[in-house]
Assembly symmetry: C2
C-alpha cells in the first residue's frame, strides 16, 4: 500500500489513551521516515473517504502500569487497499506499529509497504537494556533517544543503574545529601525520573530502577557515612573496580534509612520490580569491623555470604512491603530468600540455570555486555536457553524471563555512548524477540546495517558522533585520512583497556582518543575479510579483486597523508604507529596480490618478513586494534601456497 | 595556552549570576569542543595552584533584561601562562568567551589556544535572525539549538514570527481560541515561550515577538472571526502568498481585544521591543466593507494607507502603554507615528534611508532573506550602510541599528531548516559584527566551512540532515551516487520555486524531494568552478587538472549508477533528467580536457553541440539547478579558443 498524504490511521472508537498516544508517536515517526514532516496524517475513528488506512484494533486496553506478563503479540496484514493491525492488547498493537514502520520502503510509486501477513510474538517476556548512569552521567535527552531506539527494536525494559561508587544520580527529598554530596550536581530530579517513566510507558517500555547495595555504594556514604561499615569521611570514587565501602547490615538504622528511601523511590518508579544490585561485595570492611564480626558470630553466620543473605532478606521485606518484587545480580541468590525474587545473571547460563532449578526466575546478561566491545555476531550467538539452559525442563525454561544488554559506563560519555549501544543492541533485541532458529549471521548483519541507519531518525548519534570527534582529533576540516584509519580499527576487547592503560583510568579522564572514537565493530574490516575469503576460495565475482586492490592501496597511502597532520595533533600522534602499521599491511597485501596476478610463488624470506610485519601490526597500540591484520595474513599465506588461517587479534597482548 | 584537565575559569568574586551561568555554558561547550565530556573543569574565584586559567572580569553586571544599548565590547589576551578576558559588561565578556572557544585548536601538545591580543566590539547593535514559526512549526529543540548557533556567531536578537495566516503559534490564556483553533495543536505554551526567553538571555540574545497585524492574520480569525473585516467563518490558510483577511481597524472592539492580548504577551516577553508586522495589507476586505468605507470617509482618509496608519497609531499607544517600543515592517512608516518606533526594511536600503531621514530608527532585512537560496557571498555583500545608506549623515547612520536575517518558512521543516539557516547565517553575522572593510570573499568562505563544522556541536543538523533524507529518497543504504548529484545542485532561487511548481504549494505538502535536500549553496560546485578558472588561467598548481578530471569522471559515470535505483523510487525518478544532464556535462568536460591535452582545437560542430547540451543542463528541472553548468561552459569555450564567460544559471526560466 502507498504511504502518501491520504494515508490515515483508523482507531477503534474505544481505543485507550495509550493507543491514541502511540498512534501520534507512530505518525511522528512515519512523517520523519518519509520526510513528510509538514504533513498532517489523519487519525480517524471512522474511515475517511479516499484515504488508505492502517486500521488498528486492540482487544484490551493497557493497564496504567505495564506488567511483565502483558501480551505483546499482534497480527499485521498489509494489502494494496489498506492494512489491518490487530492485537489482544494495546501493547501488542504498539509492537505491530513498529513493524509497520520498518516495512516502509521507497518505491517507484512513492513510499509504500509491501503486502504481508505477519503473526508475531516475542520469545521472551523481558528484553532489556541496562544503562549505567553512575560512572558517567547521561542527560535526559540521551536516555530519551535511546528509549526511542529500544522501542523501535521492541525492547521492553529500561534498567536504570542509578547509583554506584562513582555517583548517586537520583534525587531523594527525604535524604537530599545523597544527590547533593554524591553526584557533582549531576543527578535526575524526581520530576525528570517521572518524565522518563512516562516517556518509556508511552513506548511500551518498563523502567526498573537499580540502587546497588550493600556494595558499589561509596556515593551514598559521602552524604551519609553512618550507613557504611567503616567510619568516613567518604568521597565520590573516581577510579573503577571493586572497592571496600559497604553498607553496615548489622545496624537497625541502616534498614530504617533504606525503608524510607525505598518507600520514596517506590513512588517514583511504578514498575513491579525493584533492583537492589547486590554484586561484588568484597567484605573487607566487614572483616575489619569488630562489631560486625561479633554480630556474625552471634548469628552463627558462616562467612560474609550469609551476612549478605541476611541483608538481602531484610531488604526483600522492605521491597515487598512497598508492593514490589526484588531483583538483583547473581550474588543475591541464597536459599533463604523467597522464590518470587528474580536473579539477573552476569556470570553465565550455568548460574542462571542454577537459580531456575532452585525455583527462582532469572534473566541473562552474561554475553550481552556492550562495554566489552564484542561483535554483534558474538552477542547474537548468546541464547538464554542455550548451554546449561538447554537442559532445563519446559517448566524451568518458563522461569527464564529473558535477558538484558548492559552498558557499563567506565569509558562512555554522552558523545560516544550511542555508538557503543547501537547498532549492536539490535542483534541482542532480535535474539530475545525472534525464534531461537534465527541464527543466520550474514543476514543479521544486513538487517543491522539497515536498522542502524534507520535509527538516525530518533536523533541517536551512533552514526553522526564520528565526524565531530575525528575533527577534534585531526584539528582539521579534512578528516578523510583519519577516517580511513578509524574505520578499520576497534577498541581493545574485554577488560584489557584498563590493563593496557598507562595511568589508572578515572571517571574524570578525557574520552577523546581514537579508542573512544573507534566503533566497537569495524564493518569495513568485516567486509574486507569477506572479500579476501572470496578471493582465496577461487570462486570470486567480478569486481572483487579490484575492490581489494583499491582498499589495500588506500591503506598503503594513508600514513603519508596523516604524518603532517600528526605534527599538529597530540591525539593523532598517539596513533601514528597504528597508521604506519596500516600502511605496511596495505603494502604487504598489494605485494601478495601482485604475486598472485603473476602466478608466481614468493620466496620464504618474503613470506617470513611479511608475516613478521603482520604480527607487529596485530598487536594493540594505544588500546586500539587493527582489524585487517587477519585477512592480510591470509592473503600472504595463500600467496605463499599455505592454507590460510585466522590470525587471533591481538597477536600480542601484554 | 593548553586546554587540559588543569584548565580552569577564574571569575571575579562579585561575578553576577548571568556571568556564572555563561561560564557553565562555556565549559559545557569547551568539553564538547575537546571531547573531554567527562571532565570537571573548575570554576574558581581564587587562582588554583598548578592550573592554567582564563580569568574573566566584567566591570558591570547585566541588567535583568538585555537592552539594545548594552556594551558588547571585550578584550581578550591569551599567553602561554594563561588568558585574561575583560569587558565593561557581562554581555561583552560573554562575546569574548565565544571568541575564546573559536580559538581552541588541536595542537601537537593537545588542545590549545594561540597567543593573541584582541580588542573587539560590534559594528551594529541589532544583529538578528527572524524565524517564521507560522508557515511551519518548529519544536522547542529546533529553536534552542539555533539560539546556540546564534550565540556562537555573536548574534543578539531572536525575532520570533509567531503568527501569520498559516498558524497562530503562541498560547493566549485570555483568548485561548487563538491557539486552540488556529494552530492544529502546534503552538508554544507560555511556559515554553518563557523558557526560550530565559535560554536566549543566558546566551546574550534578546527575544522580540512578532504578531503580524492587521494583515497576515487569517489564523486569528478562525477562533475570533469578529476581529476581521468580513464575516467568517475562517480556516487556517494552507496556501502561501498575500490574502484578503485583515483586521477591522474601525471597531473599538478590535482595540479592546488587542489591548488585552498585547498586555498578556508583554508579560511573557520582557524585551523592550514588540513587533506588530504590518506588512502586505492588500485592502480588499476594507474596500468591500461599506461600514469601513463610511468610517474612512468620515475620517477623511485618503486611501487604505491612511487607514492602516490610523490602526498603527492606535496599536502604538497600546504597545507604549505596556512600556514597549513598537517595531514593524516598511509599510508602517507614516509620519503620524512617533519617532521612537523602529522600521524593519524588507524592501531595501532606499526605504531604510527614507525612514532614517524622517527621524526613525531602522533595520535592514532586504538582502538577508535566507529562504531565497542566495549565496553566502551575496548576503555578505549586503551592508546596511551601503547604497543609499552610504549617503546618510553620521547622525542618521547612528539610527541604522543593524540587520536581521529572515528565515521564512514556506519550504522548511524541522528536518531541513538548519540547512537553510547555516552556515550562510554566519556570513550575515560577520557583516553585522565586523568592520565594513572585511570584504574578502574567499577568506569568508574558508571561515564559513570551519564554523559550519564547529556548529555541529550544538546539535544543529545542517550537516547531518543530509544522509537521512538521501536514504529516504534512494530507498537504500548506499546513497553515494545520489549524494554525488545532490552535492552539485541547488534549489531554484528567489521566488521561482512557487512559479515552477506543478500544483500550488501548501503548508501541508511533503518536503522530501531533492529540492528540499539540496543545500542552498553547493560548495562542491564553487570549488570546481575555482579549479576550472585556475586551469583556464594557465597558472595552475600541480594536481588541479587531475582533480578536475576526477570530478568530471565521477559525474559522467553517475547517471548509470542512479538509473536502477530510480526504478524503485518515485522521488529519485523525478530528478533523473538532472542526473542525465550531469552525466552529459561530465562527458562534455572530459572531451574538452582531452582536446586541451592534445593541444588540438575542436571543430565548430563539436562546440555548438556541447554548448547546446550545457544550455539544456542549465535549465532548472524539478525546481533544482545544476551548478556546474557554468564552469563546464567555460571549459568548452576555452577549448574552442573563445574567451570564457559566465553562464547565468538558470539559462532558461519559464
Amino acid at each position: 500500500m502507498l504511504i502518501d498524504p491520504r494515508f490515515s490511521l483508523l482507531l477503534q472508537p474505544q481505543a485507550d489513551a495509550r493507543l491514541e498516544k502511540a498512534a501520534r508517536i507512530f505518525l511522528d515517526h512515519l512523517r520523519r521516515r518519509t520526510g513528510m514532516l509538514a504533513l498532517d496524517f489523519a487519525i480517524a475513528k471512522i474511515p475517511v473517504d479516499g484515504h488508505t488506512s492502517l486500521a488498528i484494533r486492540s482487544e484490551a486496553p493497557s493497564p496504567p502500569i505495564q506488567t511483565l506478563d502483558e501480551d505483546e503479540s499482534y497480527s499485521l496484514t498489509v494489502q494494496e487497499s489498506g492494512a489491518e493491525l490487530t492485537a489482544p492488547s494495546t501493547l501488542g498493537a504498539m509492537r505491530g506499529l513498529e513493524t509497520f514502520l520498518q516495512l516502509v520502503k521507497t518505491t517507484a510509486q512513492g513510499f509504500g509497504v509491501p503486502a504481508v501477513a505477519i503473526h508475531d510474538r516475542p520469545r521472551f517476556r523481558w528484553r532489556g537494556l541496562m544503562l549505567d548512569c553512575s560512572r558517567h552521567f547521561f542527560p535526559l535527552e540521551v536516555i530519551k533517544r535511546n528509549l526511542d531506539g529500544m522501542a523501535a527494536l521492541k525492547l521492553n525494559v529500561f534498567h536504570w543503574h542509578l547509583s554506584d561508587n562513582q555517583g548517586f544520580r537520583a534525587e531523594s527529598r527525604r535524604f537530599p545529601k545523597l544527590q547533593e554530596m554524591g553526584s557533582d550536581g549531576l543527578y535526575y530530579s524526581q520530576e525528570e525520573m517521572r518524565e522518563i517513566v512516562r516517556y518509556a510507558y508511552d513506548r511500551g517500555i518498563r523502567v526498573v530502577p537499580e540502587f546497588d547495595m550493600p556494595g558499589h555504594s561509596t556515593a551514598w556514604f559521602v552524604g551519609y557515612p553512618e550507613l557504611a561499615s567503616a567510619p568516613g569521611p567518604y568521597a565520590m570514587e573516581r577510579r573503577f573496580g571493586v572497592f571496600d565501602p559497604t553498607m553496615d547490615p548489622t545496624r537497625e538504622s541502616t534498614y530504617k534509612f533504606l525503608d524510607q528511601f525505598i518507600g520514596e523511590m517506590a513512588k517514583v518508579f511504578p514498575d513491579e520490580f525493584f533492583h537492589i544490585g547486590g554484586d561484588e561485595v568484597n567484605g573487607k570492611q566487614w572483616d575489619r569491623n569488630p562489631k560486625i564480626q561479633e554480630f556474625m558470630h552471634s548469628h552463627q553466620f558462616n562467612g560474609n555470604r550469609d551476612l549478605q543473605a541476611y541483608f538481602n532478606e531484610r531488604i526483600e521485606k522492605l521491597v515487598s512491603k512497598r508492593g514490589k518484587t526484588m531483583i538483583g545480580w547473581d550474588e543475591i541468590l541464597h536459599s533463604d530468600l523467597p522464590k518470587k525474587i528474580v536473579i539477573q545473571s552476569w556470570s553465565g547460563q550455568q548460574s542462571l540455570a542454577d537459580a531456575v532449578r532452585q525455583g527462582y526466575r532469572g534473566l541473562l546478561s552474561h554475553g550481552y555486555y556492550l562495554d566489552l566491545m564484542s561483535t554483534a555476531a558474538s552477542h547474537y550467538a548468546v541464547d538464554p536457553l542455550a548451554e546449561e539452559g538447554a537442559s532445563l525442563s519446559s517448566a524451568e525454561k518458563e522461569k527464564v524471563l529473558g535477558g538484558e544488554a548492559c552498558m557499563w559506563a567506565e569509558y562512555v560519555s554522552p558523545e560516544n555512548v550511542d555508538s557503543r549501544i547501537w547498532p549492536r543492541l539490535a542483534a541482542i533485541a532480535e535474539r530475545l524477540w525472534s525464534p531461537a532458529t534465527a541464527v543466520d549471521v550474514d543476514r543479521m548483519y544486513a538487517r543491522l546495517e539497515s536498522i542502524g541507519d534507520q535509527l538516525d531518525m530518533y536523533g541517536l548519534t551512533h552514526n553522526t558522533y564520528y565526524s565531530e570527534m575525528l575533527q577534534h582529533m585531526a584539528g582539521s576540516h579534512d578528516t578523510s585520512a583519519l577516517r580511513t584509519l578509524a574505520e578499520v580499527v576497534e577498541p581493545v576487547k574485554g577488560y584489557s583497556r584498563a590493563a593496557l592503560a598507562q595511568s589508572e583510568p578515572t571517571a574524570l579522564m578525557p574520552l577523546n582518543r581514537l579508542v573512544d572514537v573507534a566503533q566497537p565493530e569495524s564493518l569495513t574490516a568485516r567486509h574486507f575479510a569477506a572479500l579476501v575469503d572470496e578471493l582465496i576460495s577461487g570462486q570470486l565475482r567480478p569486481g572483487v579483486e579490484p575492490e581489494i586492490h583499491r582498499m589495500l592501496g588506500e591503506w598503503r597511502n594513508n600514513a603519508p597523508r596523516l604524518r603532517p597532520m600528526a605534527e599538529n595533533s597530540a591525539l593523532l600522534r598517539e596513533v601514528m604507529p597504528l597508521a604506519e602499521s596500516l600502511s605496511a599491511l596495505g603494502a604487504a597485501g598489494l605485494e601478495a596480490l601482485d604475486y598472485m596476478d603473476r602466478g608466481e610463488k614468493p620466496g620464504e624470506a618474503w613470506k617470513a618478513e611479511q608475516l613478521a610485519q603482520v604480527d607487529q601490526a596485530a598487536s594493540s597500540k594505544a588500546q586500539v586494534l587493527l582489524m585487517i591484520a587477519s585477512p592480510v595474513h591470509k592473503l600472504i599465506q595463500a600467496t605463499a601456497g599455505e592454507k590460510p588461517t585466522e590470525l587471533v587479534v591481538p597477536k600480542v597482548q601484554p
